[in-house]
Symmetry: none
Subunit: 243 residues, 2 copies
């Protein structure tokens, strides 16, 4: 039991939730370590949504709403942290949700699908196809999902898969707290923000766009700006860290 007076209570509660999901097999042990890496970068951007991340979140909402076939790719950590938000985002954008795992077993895919469905997500099922040029089961995608998608939201993605998707011509949006990661660098749009802060913002923007009858146009944007801005934020915070 985490004492409520602990100064990092919220972060520890999220960590505890991931641990529980690791025990039930939804989150992999490697997923826990990956989460910790994200925590460190979040700490450096101040554990809040930066102005530039908010702009990226607005663009992400635009891209998803205006897509012909948006797909949200969900892994164990995303499921554990944000199943409810994924359900809401799906409702507004009409996106397909498919489960893609780095450490893939049929059992884990089923477990995560069931968990998501319990939170109101409609999860792609049916046939999988060796679609991505990656080794082993990481090549697999659901036939009706990523192969037919134009825009793919892949939060907390691994670099290999992100790069493969980009090279196949998909418009890849990622949510990644590490602006230096391969994922962050190769995505079309990188939201450098914590997942459970980013998704509600994207949802809010998507609702606004829907209320304006999807008339928004996609602005020109350069992903480098978002990465550099996140790095600048970290430097600024580090510069006065001990003041």
């Amino acid at each position: 039991m985490i004492p409520k007076d602990h100064p990092r209570y919220k972060s520890l509660i999220i960590r505890e939730r991931l641990s529980k999901c690791a025990m039930s097999g939804i989150v992999s042990l490697e997923g826990l370590t990956a989460h910790g890496r994200g925590e460190a970068f979040d700490y450096l951007i101040g554990e809040k949504t930066t102005e530039s991340a908010l702009i990226a979140e607005k663009i992400a909402a635009n891209l998803l709403i205006l897509a012909n076939k948006p797909v949200i790719s969900v892994n164990g950590n995303t499921c554990a942290l944000a199943a409810e938000a994924i359900a809401e985002l799906q409702k507004i954008t009409g996106a397909y949700v498919e489960v893609n795992l780095f450490h893939r077993t049929e059992e884990r895919v089923l477990k995560i699908s069931n968990f998501l469905e319990g939170k109101g997500v409609s999860v792609l099922k049916g046939n999988v196809v060796k679609y991505l040029p990656l080794s082993h089961d990481r090549a697999l995608c659901f036939t009706e999902g990523i192969p037919k998608a134009d825009v793919v939201l892949v939060p907390l993605e691994d670099g290999d898969r992100c790069q493969a998707l980009v090279e196949m011509g998909k418009t890849v949006i990622t949510i990644d707290l590490n602006p230096l990661s391969r994922t962050a660098r190769c995505a079309r749009l990188t939201i450098v923000d914590e997942l459970t802060r980013a998704l509600p913002n994207i949802i809010r923007y998507a609702k606004e766009i829907k209320e304006r009858n999807n008339t928004t146009e996609i602005e020109e944007f350069d992903n480098f700006y978002f990465l550099q801005n996140a790095i600048d934020n970290m430097i600024t915070r580090l510069n006065c860290a001990l003041d």
Copy 2:
């Protein structure tokens, strides 16, 4: 199996070892997340011992050798990562080793103690006493350990315990990759380095001091210097991250 020529071989081997120790109950699931956090900061300092960290390691050796009653506080991650090094450091410094866990159960204390003993560590046993002003079992210390210590080495410590120890007048040395953490800021001496790089350096310096018959004096030092230097290293690396 991780290929030996992988550029991040050591880091991946360490991660694998921690996962194994999580499965056997030595490392807590939260410990895996904490490790990931450290990985991110290590990445930012360049995954090597900085010049200033090396100075801190030398001072740490001095403090441990010249202490009246040095104690090394070991948690699950430290046990998994560095049991052999702890054994060696104990041999040279004569330090007591006690097991202190954030997620404490008697079963885990026993498991970790057994693991350490298997690697040649002599582990404190016997009575525990509610010594620290912390909630629940985190207050517990072994009667013959921390309560009687003047110098305490607490690698990978949580901020609460570090602060409590400092406030009780202990000379606290910590090894923490995050120079902004509460632990790093409140310790008397913070080594901003990765545990398995830091301990062999401390051991080497301790041996040198012993060979000079413990005649070393403790130099004046300001912990702020070590923290600021680590931060400066991170800023330098971030400044050219996207070049």
